[in-house]
């Protein structure tokens, strides 16, 4: 049974990896990792972060700032948070990062919902598979 590695080199094994749900459906990419300071001073992995709010700062430079600026502009709330998946939901890793929740329950796909509501659902046949 695949599980977690003994150690992870974050840039090599975790960042930019595809996140998949129990049906192997793509959820998002690991655009950054959230670290929290513990009481003992150690930095623990608390969540996977996704979306332009996470990828922008990591890309850095002017391009990264633009990504963040555009993302903030498109979000209704004053201080938007990037897509966040709790670290405890990660079940195992191989070439992808597997999580235990379904893609639609994780709600990290604002753009998808917008695209669906604004364009795709308005076209006949959007709900039918091949």
């Amino acid at each position: 049974m695949t599980s977690l590695r003994a150690t992870y080199d974050a840039g090599l094994h975790l960042l930019d990896r595809q996140i998949v749900d129990p049906d192997d459906a793509p959820v998002a990419n690991v655009d950054d990792l959230e670290l929290r300071e513990r009481a003992d001073g150690r930095l623990a992995v608390s969540a996977l972060l996704t979306g332009p709010g996470a990828l922008g700062p990591r890309t850095g430079g002017r391009l990264g700032s633009w990504m963040v600026a555009i993302w903030r502009r498109l979000r209704p709330d004053a201080d938007p948070q990037p897509g966040r998946i709790e670290a405890r939901l990660v079940t195992h890793t191989d070439s992808a990062v597997h999580v235990s929740a379904r893609a639609r329950d994780l709600r990290v796909d604002g753009f998808e919902q917008w695209a669906r509501a604004t364009v795709i659902d308005k076209i006949p046949g959007a709900g039918r598979a091949e």
Partner: protein, 120 residues
Amino acid sequence: MPSESAATGAVHRLGELLGAEVVLPDGTKAGQVHDVRLAGGPGLQDYVVDGFVVRARGEGAFLGYDRRAVLGPWLLRALVRAANRDARYVRWRAVRRIDWEAKLVVVERLDPLEDERAPA
């Protein structure tokens, strides 16, 4: 479940550490953070930063193959080995402090880095 280690402290992003300047207490530059090693368990939420992989020049893995003896075209392996000659490791307990604002990590010492071996 080790829940007494529930993280309630300050929140940061791993991306903030990548590319951070690494210096010794006297201010001597030792390189930049090239990658961050995590260890722990059993759940991913129990993994903590174990140390930093530090390189003299810049960040950005050469296609991610810096530290693995991946069998493959000899040309690529030779290039990767050449690019990786100066990598070193900082253990967590050798980290004196992290200045998140300035993107700076002050460390006591650096150790040699062991190559990960690819599975047979």
